[in-house]
Symmetry: C2
Subunit: 638 residues, 2 copies
């Protein structure tokens, strides 16, 4: 037996693919106190073990899977997992968080973290079960799509309860935004982690455990769970979320005017209902599913009942792919959008980035800046779904014009020598489906997020309340919680970044915890006490969040990121929204950035954390390391 | 054949029970122009045909069933029906509105209105079908409960598609708040219409039609319907309403502090979730059902799966019975509440009034003002559900202390010689489950509503938005749309009274139309044009609403109602709410009343409409009639 199972604190499994050897490491409680779990564990290890200069697709990169102390306890708002590596898409921090059932199963194998390092000499999948690790031959699986490989592995193992993280053809072709897919339709999609897995010749990581997770104070845990259940079940957002998941955001975004329609040239459309989560719920959905131990089964399965795509079924879609393959590319046909999303999933790509590269090319084409000679004969008209289907396939297999897009929008624009101004990314990661001109806190979040243009690092959804009283109360600035406000956004984003870092390290559902106010910092502390048996408090939790945000910043600073990289595409800074409820707005980024750095204790000139801040957070070795790497640290803010 | 079917405009079926004869009357288009349908038709006829002095339980009273021009067209927000008579409970206007499938079926029989008059010499049920009316023997049905009689009639007629309006034992025993029950669990519950039906020796009215309803402009109708469907499906309230119906109000009322807990002595409780619609949805509900042609199936069926009442199932409950048999009587046991509601339904009583008479008696008992000598040995403690079950039965069969309560709380207090101050009614009709101190517009609505303490005459739900901008915009007073505001409430309530009167006459669902903003006055006008083929406009619609409100007022003025009767129980005027979000509030009724009468063009001294206002509305004959009845009309306001 490789590991004996015990309590909340699992162990760490280190898999050397080059040597086909494994090593079990104990989990240091100091690491829990400093970084809690999940995202915190991963970034700490990435910082320590993947130095500057490593090629993301080389054996020296490491692919880290980690979950947190709550995973597998049955806590009722899910069990999640972070996957982390140096990103081949951005060259910076690669990190993605995923739900489903994998994390609990991994914990039941006895592991809080699995590290894949080195490179296998031929395709394998790694099978962790019954206290052993097997390197299974995957030569026959190479080239299979997600659903094909999923079926093949389950058939080979003759076990329907295995949890599988796997890659598709796009990853094998080193598409820079290929993801790792869990439970078929739940990808760790962003920052190109699938390509990292492919570079190690690993088709899948499969786990199956029979262990359990001990809780330090079972009676108090039961009481805590009961309170959370009541809060979730009685929350007014319970049923909308259960019925529509995040897909309901599309109608809301249309009401408030922050849709990314026609590649962010329109913020409202007149056909929102036709492509909405509401319509999916009424006409397409057939059942619901939850992540492990969650009481809010917000994932839905759809079936197309008639028409050209009759019989197509699948899980989801969530808001991001839904908006990406409808409004963002000018498509009004919900069936065709489901087909496109299904293709993107099965080929194993990030739907957000895929929708950006396609809609970016469409805008160029529609504006006459790209011709059929360059696209290989494709006419990239808004909403032409047959072309979109073709293009998705061309990207995944790097054929023709698809090869150009397969590196992401930033590199595509560079290679093409045009379109850089409308390439909608930050630090090489493409923008999600929300126009930051209509959601300014989100906009600031995109600019500063440690992995690029993304909402999941801060997600200050409270600004949607448009309630000045809350902003005044929480941040001393009424505008902080008004979506079109500016002042106070620095504080707002810093606060929510810290909070998100802790939730991503606890590895529970951020959406439920945040929107239903389940886990403010004091409750997190109580939960850790109950589960881990470790005395702690709300300010410890805040400090953990801040520490994680700072080490992530240090990681990208070490790669060369500075304030000049904390930007947004020109469109959002200079072109006011033309119509709808956010009409006339651009985003006042520099003012917000100044406030943000000040709140963070980072040098506003460079965007580098001060030595004082890093020492205050106990990150002494990071100070040393950055200095060794030639980064000039300002001692302190005045 | 009694009637040939044609278009929107059905006919009127007049059934003389004394003579066992029937008469068909044509529908005058002028009546549509003046009163539209449903509630408007009924009150106009009641005013004309049931003069002052008629004993509500005598053959001279008339029982009117009417639906509206939209009924049976397939319009997607339901098809409703008004039942109207002089009320045996209040001696004033008896009227109740009900959903389900009866109205459409009645329309398919060719009738917009059915009038039951006189009195049968022995129990019958009236069966309208295939162009004929049959007086069916009901001696074997007398004494049966709602569910028993329902089954017996369907069995006898060998037709599962008949629509049945029927009464239970409570009505037969002339319980003053006995209702008429449709589709088993959908009562026209308020104001004692069941007792009127019983007094005519009619156990049921049964309809079964094979006709159809023509629409003047089918293509435009289809387009209009498509727009409504999209608006409903895409509304953010669609799914919460679909999953929980009105039962979700309980948690909201607890959040905002207007629950009627322990007979309105507490406005918040700590056990709300335990008795909530949210919990019903998660733990009890098994399927949904809609009213005829409605696309929002908000009615739910529950099953109790374990415990003492395992196996009990039924439809609903809506918020009113749910709160009435939980918080109002201090009961925390949801299973027991479902049992009590099921009993009240099956015996055929109004759940609101039943919960008031019981909670009123409980408050007297708990305060030591009522002893076991007076109750016949019953210990009326908060939440003692075994006693509640017993008492429900005693009321329905008028046994012992139940006989006292069976006349309603006003008469019970009078007979008992105490408790009048805490008898929570207006004009003899008991208050619903919302504390008007926390919802002041509703409070004004209770005071002035034409049938007594009731929200359905105005339902100014917009004050729940607490948004001063809306009030300023719509009524020139910010407080109008703030639930704890005072100024502007007169305008708010008058406006919504007019609107509700029109919707009740169109006979579509007020909840959907109002909360989802489906039918503002201009849309109503358009709908009438499309369906009826009659040119009209928004101001015509407003005028129809105002006309109905005024003739209803004239009806109760003729019975002696004056400003002194537009009151609220002392508790709401003098005792501030002790805790929670509405803490410290009483209701400032007189200020609001002054504003209301002014807005209405009624004499603020007496509360009587001015002759000018009645003439302006074309109600010339009402002016004459009131004067004949000795009512002094002020010519006009200054």
């Amino acid at each position: 037996m490789l590991s004996e199972l015990y309590g909340y604190a699992g162990r760490i499994l280190r898999v050397d693919l080059s040597k086909r050897s494994v090593k079990i490491e104990e989990l240091d409680r100091k690491l829990i106190r400093g970084f809690l779990g999940g995202r915190g564990f991963n970034v700490k290890r990435l910082y320590d073990e993947v130095p500057k200069g490593v090629d993301p697709l080389s054996p020296e990169n490491k692919l880290l899977f980690a979950t947190g102390p709550i995973a597998g306890t049955g806590f009722p708002i899910g069990t999640r997992l972070n996957v982390t590596a140096k990103s081949p898409q951005t060259g910076l921090l690669g990190d993605s968080n995923v739900g489903g059932h994998f994390a609990a199963e991994m914990k039941y194998c006895g592991f809080d973290q699995i590290i894949l390092e080195g490179k296998s000499d031929r395709p394998v999948y790694v099978y962790v079960h019954d206290g052993s690790v097997e390197f299974m031959d995957a030569q026959g699986l190479w080239g299979l799509t997600i659903s094909e490989a999923y079926d093949a592995i389950r058939k080979e193992l003759r076990d329907w309860r295995v949890q599988i993280a796997l890659i598709g053809p796009a990853a094998e072709n080193y598409v820079k935004f290929a993801g790792i897919f869990f439970n078929l339709h739940r990808p760790a999609a962003r920052t190109g982690l699938g390509a990292v897995m492919a570079s190690k010749n690993v088709k899948a990581l499969v786990v199956r455990g029979d262990g359990y997770v001990e809780v330090a104070e079972p009676d108090e845990f039961e009481e805590f769970v009961r309170e959370v259940e009541e809060a979730v079940y009685s929350h007014e957002q319970y049923w909308p979320r259960r019925v529509m998941g995040t897909s309901r955001i599309l109608m809301a975004a249309n009401r408030l005017g922050f849709l990314p329609a026609d590649h962010f040239t329109k913020s409202v459309v007149d056909y929102a209902y036709q492509v909405s989560g509401e319509r999916l719920a009424v006409e397409y959905n057939v059942k619901n599913r939850s992540c492990f131990s969650c009481i809010l089964p917000c994932s839905r399965f759809y079936v197309i009942k008639r028409g050209k795509f009759a019989g197509l079924y699948g899980e989801g879609p969530e808001y991001e792919p839904l908006a990406g393959f409808t409004v963002r590319i000018g498509n009004r046909d919900l069936d065709a959008a489901l087909k496109a999303i299904s293709m993107v999933n099965d080929l194993g790509m990030d739907a957000i980035t895929t929708s950006e590269v396609i809609s970016w090319a469409m805008e160029l084409y529609e504006r006459g800046l790209l011709d059929e000679g360059e696209t290989g004969g494709l006419k990239l008209k808004w909403g032409d779904m047959d072309t979109v289907f073709e293009l998705i396939d061309m990207i995944a297999y790097r054929r023709g014009f698809g090869d150009l897009l397969a590196d992401g929008v930033a590199k595509a624009a560079k290679k093409l020598g045009k379109g850089a101004e409308i390439a909608l990314h930050v630090k090489g990661l493409e923008l999600i489906q929300a126009d930051p001109r209509g959601l300014k806190g989100y906009g600031l979040g995109f600019a500063v997020a440690s992995r690029g243009a993304d909402h999941l690092r801060s997600e200050p959804f409270i600004e949607l309340s448009d309630d000045p009283r809350i902003g005044q109360l929480l941040f001393g600035e009424a505008e902080a919680t008004m979506r079109l406000g500016v002042r106070g956004k620095g504080k707002l984003v810093a606060y929510y970044e810290n909070w998100c870092a802790v939730v991503d390290s606890l590895e529970v559902c951020k959406n439920i915890a945040e929107n239903m106010e389940i886990l403010p910092f004091d409750k997190m502390a109580k939960l850790i006490e109950i589960v881990v048996g470790m005395k702690t408090c709300a300010s410890d939790m805040m400090r953990i969040g801040e520490r994680i945000v700072n080490i992530e910043r240090a990681y990208i600073v070490r790669q060369g990121v500075r304030r000049r990289d904390d930007v947004l595409p020109r469109r959002f800074l200079k072109e006011p929204i033309a119509e709808g409820p956010s009409m006339g707005h651009v985003i006042e980024l520099e003012v917000m950035l100044d406030e943000y750095y000040k709140e963070r204790g980072w040098d506003p000139q460079t965007g580098i954390p001060t030595a004082e801040k890093l020492h205050e957070l106990g990150l002494h070795e990071v100070v040393e390391d950055l200095r060794r790497n030639g980064v000039e640290l300002r001692p302190a803010l005045d």
